[in-house]
Symmetry: C2
Subunit: 154 residues, 2 copies
Amino acid sequence: MTSIPLTRRAEPADAVTVARLLHAFNSEFDTPSPGVDVLARRLTLLLAEPTTFAIVGGAPAVGVALVTLRANVRSDGPVALLDEMYVAPAHRGTGIGSKIIEHMVRTCRELGVAEIEINVDESDTDTMRFYEHHGFTNGDPDTGEKAFSFYRSL
Amino acid sequence: MTSIPLTRRAEPADAVTVARLLHAFNSEFDTPSPGVDVLARRLTLLLAEPTTFAIVGGAPAVGVALVTLRANVRSDGPVALLDEMYVAPAHRGTGIGSKIIEHMVRTCRELGVAEIEINVDESDTDTMRFYEHHGFTNGDPDTGEKAFSFYRSL
């Protein structure tokens, strides 16, 4: 009997699986979603590039972390941004989210990432506590000053 | 007589100029800086890639905006992050910062960018006002909810 790993790095062939999870994420939180087909098309391209990776958890997959990497001037290694992180409602509290995050951090280390960033809405206190538990911090360790994320759509 | 444009997109040959401005930025705000030589080495590489661009203002340059682009699943076009924005103290209040931002936004449009992001420390109210004046917002337009930027160094 072959043991199935709990978490694994997604391949381009997993695009539809990841797209379904991200679409469920958008639907659950009333975020506009381009739909499974468009997401799958984009993910097929993105997951084949060295600047994007995804970690899926469960078999079949019930959770996903999607990460993009960018070069930056402050370090030789890239900066990673956790763009999306989702676990299906029925599987929350099982520890699968933590396993996905741990695998995501391990993968970032292997890729020489200098820093991992995550944007979190100010009301998502459970989410903040989850990321703090996994070593993330909001703000300068010396001053405690937090950073806000501004944006402009074009 | 040839007119010198107030702002222009930097080329890899401008790496030392941009590095000096970013080093001055770090020094002014007591941020650790790898130094002009290391910054210039990185910028020579970064400015030759399609995923990084810089807009410099003034001749000689007295201000700079450094932008990195990343693919993302929410749009066909890339997302841009304004990583660094600096105007030398003697030239603040002259409007050069606004000219640089306007050129930066124009360049993002030309590159098909879907959204521009900026992380701002919560105490930098003047900086926030500057970006809000240029069409940036912190938070969801419907709910007013702000987003925090979390990170973990590896």
